[in-house]
């Protein structure tokens, strides 16, 4: 097993007295880790700490074998880091090429010929080479997201921190992007936060579920899915004892709960089912039943 590239020991972060993260212990190796959790669970705070733009108030953060205690440590980590924030600002009037070129300068690619070659490489990787000269404000939301991702891929970083990389993408773009991320995650440690459980199921070796700033689950995707075995069933009506229930395309109701009733038609759980069960176990209020 490879040595950990990301190690967090009892990490905490507070904002104006409110706990955003508390007692987080993590140890990640190269591969793709998905971060799930509801809004406000602390995903973005955790990613910002991993991206070195936010300091932890408590605990130890060790990235790429460096503890982040001095500016030199942070700079050394940033040289091997790619970060896609949740909200990315683009300087006004910039084309896709110019923006990624600008970010490449910030990543110390000062020599223009290799820098431009690298910019082209990452734009091709996210399938934007054909519209590299277009101004970003004329691009669609999905194209902008891919421009943002392109800058994170500059220099083939060893640590990739991506906050909702597939937001705004249509299904075809998402599948294409999964291929890019899968390739990037072969050698690097890739941590991605998302609300799309299918992205996690399709891409990630490991999943971490955050709830109210704490790690609620940390393990392999099949382990989380296995926890929902026998707890998902189909019925002709919504089951009042189910934790969540919704009408499927076939007209029948998919129920997710603590235990399927006797003689129920139990079906194979998905990661989404398992996530809902896990959330339901910790949520103060039952998950809203949608019919």
């Amino acid at each position: 097993m490879s040595a950990p590239t990301v190690e967090l020991v009892d990490v905490g972060k507070r904002f104006r007295g409110a706990t955003a993260l508390g007692g987080v212990d993590l140890s990640l190796t190269p591969g793709i880790t998905g971060l799930l959790g509801p809004n406000g669970a602390g995903k973005t705070t955790l990613l910002r700490i991993l991206a070195t733009v936010l300091g932890a108030d408590e605990g130890v953060v060790r990235l790429l074998n460096r503890e982040l205690t001095t500016p030199q440590d942070r700079t050394a980590v940033r040289r091997r880091l790619g970060y896609l924030p949740q909200e990315l600002g683009f300087p006004r009037g910039f084309s896709a090429f110019r923006f990624v070129d600008y970010m490449a300068v910030l990543k110390e690619w000062t020599d223009p010929p290799p820098r431009h070659a690298e910019v082209r490489r990452v734009l091709e990787q996210v399938d934007l080479a054909g519209i590299a000269t277009k101004r970003i404000n004329t691009l669609s939301g999905g194209q902008r997201r891919r421009v943002a991702l392109a800058q994170a891929l500059l220099g083939c970083p060893d640590l990739l921190v991506l906050d909702e990389p597939t937001t705004g993408l249509d299904p075809e773009q998402r599948v294409a992007l999964r291929a890019v991320l899968a390739e990037a995650g072969r050698a690097a440690t890739l941590v991605l936060a998302t609300h799309q459980t299918e992205d996690v199921a399709a891409l990630c070796d490991r999943v971490i579920v955050l709830s109210s700033g704490h790690v609620q689950f940390d393990g392999r995707v099949p382990e989380l899915v296995a926890a929902a075995d026998g707890r998902v069933w189909l019925a002709d009506t919504p089951d009042p004892d189910a934790q969540a229930s919704w009408r499927t395309g076939s007209g029948r109701y998919r129920n997710v709960g603590q235990a399927a009733p006797p003689a129920a038609e139990v079906v194979e759980p998905t990661l989404e089912d398992a996530y809902l069960l896990l959330r339901g176990a910790s949520a103060p209020d039952p998950i809203e039943v949608t019919t």
Partner: protein, 279 residues
Amino acid sequence: MSERWHVDGALLMGWVGGRIGPVLAASVEQHVARCAQCRDRVASAANETPRVDLPDLERSWSAIRDAVEVPRRSRMERLLAACGLPAPDAMLAAAAPALRGAWLGVVTVVMLFVAAASLSDARASGVALFLIIAPLIPVAGVALAYSVEADPGLEQEAATPYPKLRLVLLRTAAVLAVSLPVVAVAGLFVPARVSVLWLLPAVGFTAAVLAASTWIDPVRPAVVIALGWVTAVAATAERGSPLVLLAGGGLAVYLVLLVLGSFAFVLRTRRFGALGRLS
């Protein structure tokens, strides 16, 4: 089968070097294929022929793509580069929000208005107006240069290895370099003492904003300073003596702000390596 004739030396060299026409080349090629003696001479001719360097197609293609894809540098970027800033630094400085939008236009219009007021019958009001606005222009420009609120791009910039202190100072210098000359020209229309001394509160306030920005977004301290300054100038103007703000105790306050602000900013930025709201 032995050939009755052989390709002469000059022709063979021309064929090997690709310098003869296609018809003649085809004829030579046909002969060489049949004549063992000429084939032997081809090898030695090839060694004697100076090597022709084919153009590096990849490099040429990159140059063509550069010409199409690499955008022309902005006017501000060219101006900063002409002032001696290295091209990458000029690119980073010119991307600051305060240098991209209508910042310079707004500053120019405001200062024209102030200069006109200083020349009008309401000269005293014009001087007070200059005193209110002039020191706040660099403060506003610097706050906008790296406010997370004004420039959400700062979050991804903060995750890069480029030194943050250098980036902020670069942008601060660029904002000051384009703003101060406009304000200085407007200063020609106010009393000599005001036209010079306004620089002290300007740099003192700027240093205070820079220092505060290591804890909070720089727009907030800039707004607090602006409100305080407007109130102070208005109050002293009411008593007919706004220039008291550019004397004795006032000047000492600006100097203290400059020294302490600069010290705190450098210390905090080196220590934390992040700016504004994110820190």
